[in-house]
Each structure stands twice: as structure tokens, then as C-alpha cells.
Symmetry: C2
Subunit: 414 residues, 2 copies
Amino acid sequence: MFALRIIKSTNNFVNSLPKTARKIHKHNVLYNNKPEDLLNLVIRGESLQFPYVWLRENCQCEHCYHTSAQSRILDWSKFDLNVKANEVSESENSVRIQWSDGHTSQYNFNWLKFRSFTPENQKKYTETIYKPKKETWHGKDFSNILYKRDYSDIVGSEEALYEWLHKLSVYGVALIKNTPSSETAVDGVVDRIGFTKRTHYGIKFVVQHVQNTSNVAYLSSTLQLHTDLPYYEYCPGTNLLHYLVQTVSEGGENLLSDCHYTANYMKQHHPEQYKLLTDVEVEWSDIGTEFGNDFFKLHRAPVICLDCHGEIERINFSIPQRGSHFPGPIELVKPWYEAHSLFWDLNHQFAAKFKAESGDILAFNNIRLLHGRSAYEDSSNNVRKIIGAYIDWDEIYSRLRCLKVKLKNEDGIC
Amino acid sequence: MFALRIIKSTNNFVNSLPKTARKIHKHNVLYNNKPEDLLNLVIRGESLQFPYVWLRENCQCEHCYHTSAQSRILDWSKFDLNVKANEVSESENSVRIQWSDGHTSQYNFNWLKFRSFTPENQKKYTETIYKPKKETWHGKDFSNILYKRDYSDIVGSEEALYEWLHKLSVYGVALIKNTPSSETAVDGVVDRIGFTKRTHYGIKFVVQHVQNTSNVAYLSSTLQLHTDLPYYEYCPGTNLLHYLVQTVSEGGENLLSDCHYTANYMKQHHPEQYKLLTDVEVEWSDIGTEFGNDFFKLHRAPVICLDCHGEIERINFSIPQRGSHFPGPIELVKPWYEAHSLFWDLNHQFAAKFKAESGDILAFNNIRLLHGRSAYEDSSNNVRKIIGAYIDWDEIYSRLRCLKVKLKNEDGIC
């Protein structure tokens, strides 16, 4: 039995657990199932266990589950946490349970297998459906990882859109070529995915040289490596930049750096500086007026934000948009600046350098990559102009999953 | 000197530090400033210290700081982390520093004091400018904490809007009365604050009974206590619900529960269950089609999400919109359901019950409160109808700060 195996080899078991379980274990509570809490099934030769409480709550009958809303409608106030199976009967493709609360449920084997609790099956589901696994890159490999598709493919083929979004999610960057020279062309891409994230800079935005600007991105001078809008708690997930007119002057070159690569490098080679950048909150800030509306955005977060598994969730970096308030103790100021400086140097060292062309839409993960641009000069017949739009990862992952279900015929997904 | 004091009384010092510094200390690195890294000033009788590296980076001259963009424009590639002050000279209201890199900076005393590093000054800034401190409440006190203003005040008076938004941020709920009976009336409130958060349910949304719905909120049956859209990584921050037509039938009563109160209660009285709800990720899910567009949203997060200070950042809770995949180890399933059940019970126990009226706009923090509604019945001349809109906290806090600067004449804020 599973419960016995835990008792016999606690250490190995604890090490093999997903991090959530290890964390709970660290707080001196080790949970294990009683045999009577679990249904044991052999599905196509694989021994699988399912907790009864979970099975009962996920009954798929029309009284417990609303088909068009694809939602549980069971009344929790009447739910029995200690519900028992009075009778279990298997047929070729499903199992039927008569419950102690009088209800009867039936579960298809494919549906169950897809939701199985083994770490292997959970990992497979996570990487095929939840979110594709990211792969980090060094700038020297940029030409190998940069996926390019024609605009006509992206707006005309679901297969092309799927591949392009998949590469964008894995590498954090992808390119669209031969975009029509129209201020609304980027909308065609946005509409295929979902909709833009609106910010105080608009539903979309135009990047060109403006003298008395509310944002340094609207200047033609060097734009140092940064993420956009770190002062947003809900920082825009992805940047779509349509190069309507690229500069023909010497400058205007793009720099792109994968901070997941940089952060991993720091964690390995400079653990103390890595820790300062993951632990010390600084204040990101944007104060001004746009379209006649004033804004005063502040958000406190470290440069490298980790999730509860210790994985990188988000990067914040911007010399101009870090506020002058340092919200931590004075003792951490100089060490933090040193760590920040190292992060800056490493990102420049690892960055890719290229120059987008007129007709390109450059898409990149704004909470993972740093982007920058060298200074350029407009002339009377060459005024650099970019149409920009943000899309959040909620919408991109949603579109990826919808396309996957449609194109790959994954079984028992929903 | 400050550095000496640290060495003499490390334990007291560590306990008095903001949590960020304690965390760094736990990893066996204790940082302290060298006397030569700090500028000592006495501003209006208060002894204050400022790190030179911070002062140099925050020089406010036109070469280092862009006035209209209110942004640092200093070139980091030329920045000297070990910059020294060659000469410091004080005048009545400012200090002038001649730097070792040849640059000269001048800092106004008010500007400096507002950015001082003492824990007291930092706390004051945090609570007056960054975010007002939240106050938790039990349902029995609901009538005392519920702030109400007339629609005409909210759209016509900045003072009224400021007070109303301030109460909304502190208590997570506030009410607008006597809203015009128009489907676009809520836009008047949204426009005063910023703009809505668009989701796959639209830029705004209509809540009324729909038979073959994509969402159980669009049914007239009981709506169990929940947060909206927990499957969004960027979950809508605030719900604005305009009761265009409230039901005259017996039902349709609102339930509202402050989960910060509930979570604090659990932390104190049921620490093991609290830990399960803060540590175990479950999967929030919404799959369907709306306006002809399919969506497949998934987001993994605990019920109670804590920030790096151990403070509650966000609550996720929805019986219908928790997916059937449980992404954690099987041993945690039953304990998690038990903790979830306790959270449900306590929220019902602590919830406020009232019934919004036609003409009300009920606003509540969607990542803090649970809301629910009892079943109701439409009749031919009384069809319940709500116009809903989401606004994110990024926009609400931004408007609050702008209004504060404008109305309260805070000195040296920006």
C-alpha cells in the first residue's frame, strides 16, 4: 500500500515529493492517506489511486456538474468530507461508485487517468497543458532560438499561430515578418490571441521621438536594458512591437537578454548577490500625465521575483522607473546596488544584439527578458515609428491550450 | 556611529529591522554600512543618514533626471558604485555635494527627509502614500464599516471620490447610492478612476439569468461564496456591480465575507489548516466560449496567497471554478479538503448579509472578500439585471495617490 511505503522510506519519499509537500513536511506534519480513503484502480495496466473525497467532489453527473459552464455546481454546505463508497463496480472503460450519501457517480477511465496523482502523470499534464517548460538562452544562440513566421501565416493558420505562441512561451521571444505597413496591422495578431492589456499609456501605444515626453521610451537617445512598466503589480506579460518604420540611421539596434539565464548564472556563481536581488524589495515608480489623465503608479518588488517553488516568476528592471524611495533598511543599500550592478553587467554580457526591420513584429516576454535600444537619429524622410501592444500571459496560455485541444486531439483534456 | 551600534547590539538590531533585512540576516550575511559610505545630516533637529551611492544615483539635475518623464536618465554603464563626496556644503534648505566623478548635485532637505531611511519615516510613507493600511472586519460590524456616497458626489467631487476609494482600499468594500438607471452609468465611476480590466467575459459584463450559460454566475440559483476569476494570474482586483434591477422576489440577498479576518482567525486558532491553505496549490479553471471566442484559463495558486512578508496578498476561492486536477501529492488531498471546508464554514460564520437595492453600485475587493448571493426568481415585470465592471488595484491606488497629492498638499511627495 502507498501509505506503508511512506512510512518505510520517509527520506526518499520526502525528496521525491513535489515541493509543496516537502514544505508542509518541514513544518513537522507528515500527512499520509488511510487505505480506506483511497480507491485503487488498475487502468490499462497502471495501478492508480484516487481519494474518495476528491472523486465525490468531482462527480460529473448533471446534478453535480454544469455541462455548458464546465463547472462544479455541487452544494458544498451539504458535502460530506468523510463520504464512503458503498459499492464500486468496474466496466470496460469506467468505474461506478454508489456513495454513502445516496448519490451514484460514474467516471470514465480516460478522464481519471488524465487526472491521476502520480508525479509522472502530473508532470506530463503540467508541461503539455498547464504551461510549456521554459528554455533559457545565451545571446550567442539567439539566431537558433528565434522563431520567425510570416504575418499571413499567423493570421491565416492556426497551426502557425500555435507553433509561434509555443516558441514565444518557451524562449520568451518570437518574430513575425512581412507585416503590412498599417497602424492597425498588429491588431490582426492581437485578435487571433485575445485582446490587449490596457495601461495608462493606452490600449495600444506609439513609440517615436517626443520632446516633452511622459516616458523616456519616447526619446531617441539610448534606451538602457529594462522591462516595461515594472511599477504595475499586474505588469504587462508580453510586448508586441510592430516596426512600422525602422530607422535607416546607424543606431536603433535592439538588445535582448534572457534574465532566466542571467539569474541562474548568478544563483550558481554569485549566490549572495542573487539572494539580494530575490529578497530586497525596491520601489518601481511612474508619475505623470498621459492623454490628460494623471497617474501615480508604485509597486514594490525585488528585481528577481520567485514563486513558492523557488522558480522565477517575474523580473523587474528599469533604471528610469525605479523610484527614489528605497523601502528597505539602509544597511542593504550599497550591497543591493552592487548586486544590481552585477545583474546589469551580466545581462549586457549575455544579451543578443540585432536590428529589427520595417515590417517586423517583435514579441517578447516582458516579465522575463530585458530589452534595450541604441540611440538613433530621425531624418525628414525617415521617422522611426513603432506601434506597440501588450498582451498578458493569461490570454496567451489560454489561446495556446485552446489551439492544442483543437489541433492535437488530446484525449480527455477537459 | 550607526555601524558601531549594530555591532554592539546585534540581536536587538536584528529584531528591529524590517523583515527584508532579517531574512537576509538568516542566511548568515549581516550587512552594515561603513561610516565613509554615509552622509550624516541634521534636518530640522532630526539626525538622518543617506548612503552616497543612493544620493549620487538620485541626483535631480537635468543631466541625471528627466523632469517631464520624472525618470532617472543617468547612464548606468558610467556609474561609479564607490563614488565619494569630495565636498559637502549645507545651506538653509539644501545640501550640495561635489562628487569624485566630477559631477555636482544639490538636494532639498524636504526631498531628502521624505525619502529618509529611518523605519518610522518609511512606515509613514508606506501608509500615507504607498498603500493605506487594511482593517479587517467581522460581518456583525458591516453596517459600521460600509461607506456610502451618492453617485452624483462620486462623479462630481474629487474629495468624495478620494474618501470613497480610501474606504474601499481599507475595508475592501464600499457602496454608491442613487445611480442613474442606465446601462452606461457605471462608466461614469470607472472613468473617474481609470479604466476597466477586460477579461474573456468582456470589457464590462451583464449578470442575469441565462439558461445555457458559460458561467454559473449567470444562473438564478444560489451563488455560493466565491472570488471571481481565480483562474486569472492577473485576477481582477475590484468588482463594481451596478444593480440596474434588483429582484423583488424573496431571494437575491448578498453575502460578503472579509477573508483577511477569516485567515487571521485561522492562523491563530487552526494553524495547521491555515498552513495547508497557504502552502498547497490547487488549480483554478475556466473553459468555454464567450462571444464566439473560446478560452481555456488555468492558474495554480493556494487559497490564501502570502507575500514575502507573510502578509496576505490574494485570496482564491470558488467551488465551481476550482478544476478537477489537483496538482499536489495525493497525501495532501484529504487534509486540504478539511482545511478548505473549515475556511468555508468560518467565512459563512463571519459573513455580512444584506440586500443591495436598485440604483446601488456595490464595489468590493475581489482578491480579499468572498461574495455570494441567495437564489431568486425572475418574473415577467421584474428581471434582475446587474452591469458589472472590474478595475485593477494598480489603477485604484494610482488614482488615490493622485487625489492625495492634489487634495492634501503633501510636501515633497514626487
